[in-house]
């Protein structure tokens, strides 16, 4: 038996967190589905940006912002990134991969922190790159549409917030359901289906319900206006998204920390 390996002193929690995060990052890029997802999203976002740019190529409106169009193009496909975050989280449970994962990292709080951080940071950074790429594409096709830097910083800031909170929500739902199908249904429901469905029912209760959904907050923050009848503000949208993200993570985290690995 080798003594070299056994004699190493025990590292602290910080070192374990960094190592686990490195492993989680490897876990992401070592499966083809990650690359297919990234490629599909990039093609879709750049495609919408190109079409929008071609459509506006003769427009001369320097006061208009290509960032708005780029953010809209990226926002349309943000759902793919959320699906990626959810599937990545749930797949470890559905494939049984959680069994070796917890043998290698039995400190579940470390695993939770590393997994959440890596997925949220990856989705957020990739989302930012997509907004930048889409906005630049629009501006290249339609030079008459401006690309002001101050507007870019503001747009990217809000896009980062939306991507990060929605990724947290997806990770939380993935950990809570431990099921790809169930998780996708949950994310679809609160981000897309319910906000669209509730706005067509003209009733005070459905409007108030709609204002509590994360999808409604996302629409307000990306488009500047909520679905029909809702009275969203920036503050209410931020609070709604943060509450949903932290709530989902609390439930999913509790399930990972307190229950059997695949129970």
């Amino acid at each position: 038996m080798s003594t070299t390996l056994l004699e190493s002193s025990g590292p602290g929690t910080g070192v374990l967190l960094v190592r686990t995060a490195a492993a989680e990052w490897s876990r992401l890029w070592t499966v083809r589905s990650t690359w297919w997802c990234a490629l599909a999203t990039a093609v879709a976002v750049l495609g919408v940006g190109t079409l929008a740019g071609i459509d506006l190529r003769d427009v001369q409106a320097p006061e208009a912002s290509a960032w708005e169009i780029g953010q809209f193009a990226a926002g349309l496909w943000m759902f793919i990134l959320l699906v990626f975050a959810l599937v990545t989280t749930a797949a470890d449970h559905t494939s049984g991969g959680i069994v070796p994962t917890l043998q290698w990292t039995p400190r579940r709080a470390v695993l939770l922190a590393a997994r959440t951080s890596v997925i949220v940071v990856s989705v957020t950074v990739f989302g930012q790159l997509l907004v930048i790429a889409a906005s630049t594409t629009v501006h290249l096709w339609a030079p008459g549409i401006g690309l002001p830097m101050d507007e870019g910083a503001r747009t990217l800031g809000w896009a980062a917030f939306v991507h990060a909170t929605c990724a947290l929500l997806a990770v939380g739902i993935g950990l809570a359901t431990r099921s790809t199908g169930g998780g996708l249904a949950g994310v679809f429901a609160v981000i897309i289906v319910l906000p669209v469905l509730l706005q067509v029912i003209p009733h005070e209760l459905t409007v108030r319900l709609n204002e509590m959904l994360p999808g409604t907050a996302v629409i307000y923050l990306l488009a500047g206006d909520g679905p029909g009848g809702t009275a969203m503000t920036t503050t209410s949208s931020v609070v709604t998204l943060v509450c949903w993200a932290l709530g989902a993570l609390a439930v999913g985290g509790w399930r990972l920390l307190r229950t059997d690995a695949d129970g």
Binding site: M1, S2, L5, L6, S8, G10, P11, V15, L16, R19, T20, A22, A23, S26, R27, T30, V31, R32, S33, A91, D92, S95, G96, G97, I98, V99, P100, L102, Q103, W104, T105, P106, R107, R108, T259, D260, A261, D262, G263
Partner: protein, 314 residues
């Protein structure tokens, strides 16, 4: 060393493990045996920190697994060979494991070589056979060169060469002074590998002894007799034998009498004997006897009714 103390695991009203206590000492291979549903896998999962016990403790080197900062360097386990992401290559699977525990990536190629997966390590796991997945799981268990090893049914899916390889591997680990706990349904394999066995049934401890003691506790010699008049012979043997078991239409196995005793008796009652042989006591026989009251799931023989061991009677 592994120390399991008063371990109990309940799933609602079902008690999968019931006040189980045993130690697994270093320097020997300990077989972990029991019928389906006895609680073996649950016990191993609790030792590895995957499931939480309702009561009691399961410690490795005196600690819970979660209290070991680099668990792969202290304990390696193969619990479920299918529990891997099918879209990842075997080498990347091991690299991820190595990163979590700060193990040099060069060690990955060492264990790939050790388990004989060199040619397949770059391929995606979805293309692996069960035997290759077993080898990959064993490679992950060996990655940190740990002193404690747990294997749940390690020879499942392995070909004869693989079975012989794992037999030598486990023996080598024990001879190195490591602690080795192996569960298996293959009694003949266990008899060859294990120095000691822990047998459980319905979650409770049935036996915890060296294999030699388990075999020694069986009631003397066992003799197999083949005769066209098995019913008559069995009836005649019953008063003097410890047990008479019908093992076929024209075959009985007898405990507590010598071959000479049985031959003489058959001659006295005029029963022709076509085969008479002393058979070596096996761990399988001991196991079946020890667990006969603890089997939850019984199958039925596929032998046609006409061929059931009724035997002929005069």
């Amino acid at each position: 060393m592994i120390k399991v103390s008063q371990l109990t695991k309940e799933y609602g009203a079902v008690r999968a493990v019931d006040d189980l206590t045993f130690d697994v000492e270093p320097g020997r291979v300990t077989g972990f045996l029991g019928p389906n549903g006895a609680g073996k896998s649950t016990t191993m999962r609790i030792i590895m920190g995957l499931d939480q016990s309702t009561r009691g403790t399961a410690l490795v080197h005196g600690k819970r697994l979660a209290d070991l900062p680099e668990p792969l360097r202290r304990v390696g386990a193969l619990l479920d060979a299918g529990a891997m992401h099918p879209g990842r290559s075997g080498r990347n699977h091991l690299r991820i494991a190595a990163r979590t525990n700060g193990i040099p990536l060069a060690r990955v190629d060492d264990v790939i070589d050790q388990v004989g997966l060199d040619a397949a390590a770059g391929r995606r796991i979805k293309g692996y056979s069960l035997g290759m997945r077993q080898r990959l799981g064993i490679a992950a268990a060996l990655l940190g060169d740990p002193g404690v090893l747990l294997f749940d049914e390690p020879v499942n899916g392995l070909d004869l060469d693989g079975v012989r390889w794992i037999r030598g591997l486990l023996r080598g680990f024990a001879d190195d002074g490591r602690t080795v706990l192996v569960s298996s349904h293959l009694m003949s394999e266990m008899q060859l590998i294990a120095d000691r066995v822990v047998i459980i049934g319905r979650g409770r401890l049935i036996a915890d002894s060296p294999v030699t003691e388990i075999l020694g506790a069986l009631d003397g010699q066992r003799v197999r007799v083949r005769t066209p008049f098995a019913v008559d012979l069995a009836r005649a043997l019953e008063p003097s034998a410890v047990s008479v078991e019908r093992t076929g239409p024209d075959e009985v196995e007898v405990d507590g009498l010598t071959a000479e005793d049985i031959g003489d008796l058959a001659h006295r009652i005029g029963v022709p004997v076509h085969h008479l042989a002393e058979i070596q006591q096996s761990l399988e026989h001991a196991y079946l006897r020890l667990t006969e009251d603890s089997v939850d799931h019984h199958g039925h023989s596929a032998v046609p009714t006409s061929a059931q061991p009724n035997g002929a009677s005069r």
